[in-house]
Amino acid sequence: MAAVEQSLPRSAPLAESAPAPLLRAEAVDLEYRDGGRQVQATHQVSFELYPADRFVLLGPSGCGKSTLLKAVAGFMRPAAGRIVLDGRPVEGPGADRIVVFQEFDQLPPWKTVLQNVMFPLVASRVLKRSDARERALDCLDKVGLSRFRDAYPHQLSGGMKQRVAIARALAMQPKILLMDEPFAALDALTRRKMQEELLALWDEVRFTLLFVTHSIEEAMVVGNRTLLLSPHPGRVRAELDCTEFGLESGGSEAFQRKAQHIHSLLFEVPR
């Protein structure tokens, strides 16, 4: 595996004042075992998250983004390599890394929208019930679902379910937030509003974000750092800096150029 066009070597030391990485994936292979079959989802993927990073995983469908997220969340163990969080290998899931899953069935159907948002706060004993309720109502307001707080998940549309899941994660204000295509089911305006809420909360709390998306634009707007993955099985194609872009930079020429560059990196057949 030859590194070319590398504008800065991978291992280049950062400025002295730079903090230690919060999370490191070191040459991670992820595999699914299923009956007698074994499917490799990622191959030798390495990356580092620093505190307050908004780190985006970008790649084609089926390249292993969700799998990587599940591994960081502690639901899967690497078949090779390791994932280190705060100096210790990830052993299992925990409320320090709150996940928004890609699937629509992540909400317990027996809890109302409000109870769903309160659930992790109460279950992980972050807040007591009354405070949890207040925080939950606040977050529901942010995702525009205050009116549906007493509805059950099966009474919501796909996009509404995902917004509940987002509210639930935001309410936790976790140290690390892992989001798997959270806005995929949302219309342009709602998606925009969610991006704004997410970034505003980040600006306030400065959590570390690991964000999966399939939209190049979203990656650039939401993230300060983007990891590009190759098609199945996912390998690291590039890691790019997007610190300069934000919610307002949509139309700018630099933005368009970078988007174009990412597009070609992602989708041109590697030789």
Binding site: K70, A73, F75, G92, P93, G94, A95, R97, I98, V99, F101, E103, D105, Q106, L107, P108, P109, W110, F119, P120, A123, S124, Y152, P153, H154, Q155
Partner: protein
């Protein structure tokens, strides 16, 4: 020639705000009553009773198969004399104990089974070994450990509730959506808390069918077992009542006793289980109300 859709003009509307009250409306009471289905079920029961009456008259063998009307007379008599209520209560008190213990054990065993691999093997092995064993297989153990009377009855009841309940609960646990389980584990739930907060509610449909089956089989078992462990004379519950009247060929009373079992079954089904389901899995969209 390929079909081409016509080009039409565009149009836009300016929308007035809708009156808020239009959007959520409560169904009127008649519509809700229609949903209950009480009447339809009563009709079915009435048809079954009619069928029974006809079959009984056809065979005209009241010592073997009394008619519905004779049985009704016997039930009325038994209720009036106070004997049936006492018997029913005698059985019910034991049954509920055995049922409750069976359920708790089933939950414990299945919780162990979802948490550990050993637990899973244990559950599977115990169930496949003990579940097909008839109560007489337990008789010696019951006699030696618990002696005559309630202890042994409960032991046998637990045997009849535990295994089907455990099978159903475990099946329910295994069918829980992986995403949901991951969500629970994500919030730090593990072991018993994961079971209590995620697996049990998510498996409720299967748990309910386990509860129903356990309920039914505990009645069957109790009635059979009371004849074996049937408390010292004069006491004993419905099973004993049935057994004794059967021995004395007072078949009306036998059927009166059985009718009580049916009535209790209908009540428990319609007042308890159905409402439990309505308040939980149906309300939560976890079980289709209709197809």
């Amino acid at each position: 020639m390929k079909t081409t859709p016509p080009i039409r003009g565009e149009y836009e509307y300016t929308l007035e705000p809708l009156p808020e009250r239009r959007q959520v409306r409560v169904l009127d009471w008649r519509a809700r009553l229609g949903e209950q289905g009480w009447l339809r079920k009563l009709l079915i029961v009435a048809l079954l009773v009619l069928g029974w009456e006809l079959i009984a008259r056809h065979f005209a063998n009241p010592l073997l198969l009394p008619s519905a009307s004779d049985t009704l007379t016997a039930v009325t008599g038994g209720l009036a004399s106070g004997e049936l209520p006492v018997r029913v209560w005698g059985s019910l008190a034991v049954l509920l104990k055995g049922y409750a213990i069976g359920i708790v054990l089933a939950l414990a065993l299945t919780s162990l089974a979802v948490m550990t691999r050993f637990g899973r093997d244990l559950l599977s092995t115990l169930t496949s070994m003990f579940s097909p064993l008839p109560a007489i297989a337990l008789l010696p153990i019951a006699l030696l450990w618990f002696g005559l009377g309630e202890g042994s009855l409960i032991f046998v009841l637990v045997h009849s509730v535990l295994w089907p309940m455990a099978l159903n609960v475990f099946t329910g646990f295994q069918s829980v959506s992986p995403t949901l389980k991951m969500a629970g584990r994500n919030y730090g739930l593990r072991g018993p808390r994961l079971v209590a907060h995620i697996l049990i509610p998510a498996a409720l449909p299967s748990i309910f069918s386990g509860l129903r089956i356990g309920w039914a089989f505990s009645w069957r078992t109790l009635i059979a077992a009371e004849m074996v462990f049937g408390a010292s004379s004069g006491q004993g519950g419905l099973g004993w009542y049935i057994y004794q009247n059967r021995n004395e060929l007072i078949t009306d009373n036998v059927f009166a006793g059985l009718a009580m079992v049916i009535v209790i079954g209908l009540l428990v089904e319609n007042l308890l289980f159905d409402n439990l389901e309505r308040l939980t899995v149906r309300r939560w969209g976890m079980s289709a109300e209709q197809h």
